[in-house]
């Protein structure tokens, strides 16, 4: 799609491509490209290199390290990052809490947190979801009761991704239980080393430990850790959730994965040739390629409108989320199916040892990734929520 870009945009893309491929250690990018799990250190390393070059938080205000880029440039920044399999900056830091502090927090709060957040000196966790507040987030019950210059926090959060690494957690808490549910919520920052904070791992069916429950038992939080005004947290949360919706389609990453499925199929033998020659398999791959192109063109069309001046969030981004997440799931499925009967075991290493043939490429990550990817149609506004938005906002139903 390079041909759609202007000469300047193309040069910018070239510059990003060059940067990612020379400055981010190849071993990290190899890990991402082959679906290996990243360590905390890997992610910190990558983000610090990005940050040192001004590429960790380009969408933040310039004052806090952001770049004055067009929507197309931001798209290129992200797309090229995914195409180069660069470990992404931690979204909890750069897309969530950072913009909220920058936009709604005091100057003092910004100085205290933003540089460290951009540089991943602080690892942020997200404390939004609760066991009984999933899609209906505003019904959350974790309470923060003011007592002198502190809040006393009690309750439970869940689905806290990578919470095991968390230094701090940004929370939605109920500060006023008497009013309409959205009106009594505040946005609070909590040091996870505070007494009374307990993190409990949730084991997932992909065999890994990606998410956690976080319990709060009379946790004392200084009032200066409140972002913005008390009881205005829902506004900040909506701002946060509406941020960067276009990036959620993960087109670059899907391209890398689909290219991978195709490459593996080309080396997978069948009775009559390779799996890539198999008519039904290749038709399935080809349809996914056409869909991915449609997704990308849709993203570019939306960007083009933004570039042309409109600044409002586009409800069509719900189409990107709905379709992009489904496509990620479909691609994760075909990566399993490439493996055939060798895609059914959970293994930690392609090397079986004992003189046995190594397992095929993708055998380690495809199946866990398939199960893990089930989340993408659930989180960040489930497919059902997106369909609701489309039918209401775009069709008037």
């Amino acid at each position: 799609m390079d041909t759609l870009l202007s000469a300047e945009e193309r040069e910018f893309a070239q510059q990003m491509r060059q940067f990612y491929r020379t400055e981010i250690p190849e071993e990290l990018r190899f890990k991402v490209a082959t679906g290996q799990e990243l360590t905390k250190d890997d992610m910190v390393t990558s983000q610090r290199i990005l940050n040192a070059n001004g590429y960790a938080v380009p969408h933040w205000p310039v004052e806090w390290g952001g770049q004055d880029w067009t929507p197309v440039q931001r798209h290129i920044w992200l797309e090229e990052m995914q195409l180069a399999s660069v470990p992404a900056p931690l979204p909890f830091n750069v897309s969530m809490v950072g913009p909220v502090i920058a936009t709604f927090g005091s100057q003092e709060l910004g100085q205290r947190f933003l540089p460290a957040t951009a540089n991943l000196d602080i690892w942020w966790s997200q404390g939004f979801s609760e066991p009984n507040a999933g899609s209906d987030l505003a019904s959350l019950t974790t309470s923060a009761v003011r007592s002198g210059d502190k809040y006393i926090v009690n309750g439970q959060k869940t689905w806290t991704t990578l919470g095991q690494y968390g230094d701090w957690i940004f929370m939605l808490v109920r500060t006023d239980p008497e009013v309409k549910k959205q009106a009594g919520i505040s946005f609070l920052l909590i040091d996870m080393k505070s007494p009374g904070v307990t993190v409990r791992p949730i084991q997932l069916i992909d065999g890994g430990h990606e998410v956690n429950e976080v319990f709060f038992d009379n946790v004392e939080v200084p009032v200066e850790n409140l972002v913005g005004e008390e009881n205005k947290g829902w506004t900040y949360a909506k701002f946060l959730l509406g941020n960067e919706r276009t990036g959620i389609a993960r087109i670059g990453a899907s391209k890398v994965n689909l290219a991978r499925a195709k490459a593996y199929a080309a080396v997978t033998k069948t009775a009559t040739g390779t799996l890539l020659d198999d008519p039904l398999f290749s038709a399935r791959l080809t349809r996914l390629e056409a869909e991915l192109t449609a997704l990308e063109m849709t993203q570019l069309r939306i960007l083009s409108t933004q570039a042309a001046g409109s600044e409002k969030p586009d409800p069509r981004s719900s189409v990107l989320k709905l379709k992009g997440s489904q496509l990620q799931e479909d691609i994760s499925e075909i990566l399993v199916d490439v493996l055939g009967p060798q895609g059914l075991d959970f293994v930690t290493d392609r090397v079986q040892g004992e003189g046995l043939t190594d397992l095929p490429l993708g055998a380690v990550d495809a199946l866990p990734a398939y199960f893990n990817t089930r989340k993408v149609t659930i989180y960040g506004g489930s497919s059902e929520v997106q369909r609701g938005i489309i039918s209401k906002a775009l069709l008037g139903l």
């Binding site: 202007s6 990018r29 689909l258 195709k262 192109t293 849709t298 409108t305 379709k323 369909r387």
Partner: protein, 381 residues
């Protein structure tokens, strides 16, 4: 990056849209559909006056010398109003075939009439028993004086019912060629048909029919380009038709009451309508993708053109089927009646999704030429 319509295109879309809404409403269209020819020569004349019939014809031949981007704008509007006149047959397929393959003399002879709205064209390439294959017709051309005579049979000739000239594929001395045949040529038999969507087509038989060679360029290359243009054109038309279908369906869901509430209050229908919307966005994106492919210039553009067009058509075809079927289903019985417009849209979409090939064959073809993405895995060198 700018994918929006430019000012000229916006003006074209707006003017034409206004014209069609007033002059080509359901009643006007129903009357044209019920007429003997199934088209309005008066409307065609008006299209000519608006510069549409010669839209991409160079000024030297009396045309407006615009690009395919404007053709797409016109066809999206035509799709929205289900225009019956043979615009794709004449102004896209026919005019481009003559433009690409005709001699200066032939262009002078044919194109001004097209631009003036006096001449209809049709490309005759499909043959009985050949399905969608175009490369090896059994129609033959034999040298005769300055020109040739043709023998053979064609079918599915879009716009062939009213065409004044045909551009015909035939094999001469083992080579594919394009030939120009006048509708009143000796030995030419024409049987007119109507497609399900009301558009005219024809079957043709040639028995030593005199014809001129159209050989200013390689016939295969011209045929491929013309079909790619035709595909890109009907994709734009499909987008217009789908947009109208979805608007109409959403409106119906909001107004039709059952069990004391609008049926659009049913969440199951809301979600299915949302899926239609999302699919339509895909189709719109891919129609644009095809439009960009056929207007692209520079290195590799020709090679990529066909690949991109068929990739686009795979998406547009399946979306067209989806929208056509769901629009009727959501309307219920009334969606199956000729009195109500939605069924007419479904019929046009049903035809478009099988014109110039269908999604399954295109999928196989795209796979065969390597698809859109290079195989690559970091752990595979």
């Amino acid at each position: 990056m700018d994918l929006e319509l430019n000012d000229i295109q916006q003006e074209l879309a707006s003017t034409l849209g206004k014209y069609l809404r007033t002059e080509y409403d359901t009643a006007a269209r129903d009357a044209i559909l019920a007429s003997d020819e199934g088209i309005s020569r008066e409307k065609w004349q008006q299209f000519a006056e608006m510069g549409l019939t010669g839209l991409t014809i160079p000024e030297g031949y009396g045309g407006a010398e615009m690009t395919f981007a404007e053709v797409a704008v016109v066809l999206e509007a035509f799709g929205r109003s289900l225009v019956l006149e043979p615009f794709v047959a004449t102004a896209v397929l026919g005019a481009n075939a003559v433009l690409l393959a005709g001699s200066e003399e032939q262009k002078q002879a044919i194109l001004p009439g097209v631009a003036e709205g006096q001449t209809f064209l049709a490309v005759a390439a499909l043959e009985p028993g050949q399905r969608y294959a175009l490369a090896q017709p059994s129609t033959t051309a034999t040298a005769a004086g300055d020109g040739v005579t043709l023998s053979g049979e064609k079918n599915g000739v879009l716009g062939g019912d009213v065409a004044d000239h045909f551009i015909v594929t035939a094999v001469e001395n083992g080579e594919l060629g394009l030939f120009l045949v006048a509708a009143d040529a000796a030995g030419l038999t024409r049987v007119a048909h109507r497609q399900a969507d009301g558009l005219g087509s024809a079957s043709l038989r040639f028995a030593d029919t005199p014809a001129q060679r159209l050989n200013a360029a390689d016939a295969r290359a011209v045929l491929d380009e013309v079909v790619d243009l035709g595909n890109a054109a009907i994709m734009a038309e499909a987008v217009g038709a789908m947009e109208a279908s979805l608007t109409m369906t959403a409106e119906y869901l909001k107004t039709r009451e059952q069990f004391g509430a609008p049926i659009g209050a049913n969440q199951a229908l809301q979600h299915r309508a949302a899926d239609l919307y999302a699919d339509l966005e895909y189709a719109r994106s891919m129609a644009l993708f095809a439009r960009l492919a056929v207007t692209a210039e520079g290195e590799g553009a020709e090679k990529d053109r066909h690949r991109d067009v068929i990739a686009a058509k795979i998406v547009v075809d399946s979306t067209s089927r989806h929208v056509a079927q769901e629009s009727i289903q959501m309307h219920g019985g009334i969606g199956m009646t000729m009195e109500y417009p939605i069924g007419h849209y479904a019929k046009r979409l049903t035809v478009i999704s099988r014109t110039f090939d269908d999604a399954d064959s295109l999928t196989a073809e795209l796979a065969q030429i390597g698809g859109l993405i290079e195989p690559h895995a970091a752990d595979l060198s």
